[in-house]
């Protein structure tokens, strides 16, 4: 699989997710109408839910990256600081090597080394690093990390990841809200739907509302594990120096701790898991399903093999 195929797939997946998302809104709206609506002549909840879903998905697509960057308290780089200037240079070099426009660069004042890229397209992309990463890495290692993130940008991983982050966050909220609404109503004793069909529909609706956040979480994990290997390989192709990234991963791994400033919903975007989950280090089916990142040793091993070292 190469970077262009991956970009095509990411586009398809992004659309599929947006449709799924709007469908979930439609489904919840229909449910609300069925149980609490004023009737078929005007399905008020369905219309509201649909409008909300579409507006939210579009706004998230256009503004989600800004929101994520804002929520991590990231600032622009200080180009008078030699290390930060060096990082800026390395990012520019990698954008030349990959032929994409220069992404906006940001820094988070956090001692734990980490990095992520976000945005909806290479022309509208941002690259965020922590101060810890810039402080511990040398030039070659920075280049490996920048190449990795630039690859995520070029193959549109960032677009899919952005959509997942936005939808994941909202589906959790939405499901909470729907469940709470239902329980409040049922305590008051709504006598409208006593038939067995009504009960079955209600059951399906509730199960969906409860499972949706779980499913979206599993999906975020599932889609991002393979991606890291591909981005590592593409980075090596750009820098022609896989050992730089391998050394960077080693350093990042050695200082692993939770990156507090990066919120939970964006964990799947980072070069190393900001939650410091031990499950990422395990191998096997279950670990493959649950972890957002492949084990670092395996990534380093793969990079070393590229260098025949």
């Amino acid at each position: 699989m190469n970077i262009y195929e991956q970009a095509r797939r990411n586009k398809t997946w992004t659309w599929a997710l947006v449709y799924l998302f709007i469908f979930i809104f439609l489904f919840l709206g229909l449910g609300l109408d069925y149980f609490y609506g004023i009737g078929a002549e005007f399905p008020v909840f369905t219309v509201i839910a649909l409008l909300l879903g579409i507006t939210y998905a579009y706004a998230g697509y256009r503004l989600g990256d800004k929101f994520i960057i804002y929520s991590t308290h990231a600032r622009s780089l200080d180009l008078n600081n030699p290390k930060q200037k060096q990082w800026q240079n390395v990012v520019e070099e990698m954008s030349i090597a990959s032929g994409i426009p220069l992404p906006k660069t940001y820094i988070i004042d956090d001692p734990d080394p980490n990095a992520f890229a976000t945005g909806r397209a290479p022309e509208h992309s941002s690259l965020v690093v922590t101060r810890g990463l810039i402080d511990v890495l040398n030039r070659d290692e920075m280049q490996g990390v920048a190449g990795h993130e630039i690859s995520h940008i070029k193959n549109l991983d960032i677009r899919l990841m952005l959509i997942i982050a936005i939808l994941l966050g909202s589906v959790v909220l939405l499901a909470d809200w729907a469940a709470r609404g239902f329980f409040m109503r049922s305590r008051r004793g709504d006598r409208r739907n006593q038939g067995s069909l009504g009960l079955i529909v209600l059951a399906i609706w509730l199960v969906t509302a409860i499972l949706a956040p779980l499913l979206s979480q599993v999906m975020a994990m599932f889609v991002s594990r393979k991606r890291e290997y591909l981005a590592d390989a593409s980075s090596a192709e750009l820098t022609r120096n896989p050992l730089g990234l391998a050394a960077a991963l080693e350093k990042i791994e050695a200082r692993t701790g939770p990156t507090r400033s990066i919120i939970r919903g964006t964990a799947h975007m980072c070069i190393s898991d900001p939650r410091g989950y031990p499950v990422n280090q395990r191998q096997g089916r279950l670990a493959d399903l649950l972890a957002t990142h492949p084990p670092v040793e395996k990534r380093i091993e793969a990079l070393r093999q590229m260098a025949y070292a």
């Binding site: 030699p82 240079n89 520019e92 070099e93």
Partner: protein, 185 residues
Amino acid sequence: MIKVLLILLGVLSLWFIAVYNSLVFLKNQVLNGWKQIDVQLKRRHDLIPNLVETVKGAMKFEQTTLTEVIEARNKAIAAGGIAEKAQQENVLSSALRQLFALVENYPDLKSNENVAKLQEELVSTENRISFARQFYNDIATKFNIRLQTFPVNMISGMFNFKGAELFELADASEKEPPKIDLNIK
């Protein structure tokens, strides 16, 4: 029968248009890649006077190297034609490398903040030039493969698309293959 032929002709011409457009797209990417190399070379030309100005005071005894760098820069700017340009840029590269090797001998220069900054800028510029060349070669190879493989080669022949020339290492030291000692001791 005529219907089938018409449909076939329609599909064929759609394919024709798609291939032609993709070739034009790739060709422009190749041209853009070439321009990008020029942009980075210019960046290097602009940086050099600053560098020489900064180290001049401390490196009084290395006048020849400094003048060599300046001369190489001026020649590279004045050079016309791709081959001559490439050659002059390579002379400049080696002159710069020599200068940086000499800077190592001056501890007060090495610890000077401005020199460190300029050094980083020049390292970055050298990288940018080589990455721009690498990108150019990658995209040009892609273009060439597309041009030469069947069935696209029929269209590229018809419209006289020419393959892009790859950027080759002109520096003699870079061109030499690594020596491998096969004598087992």
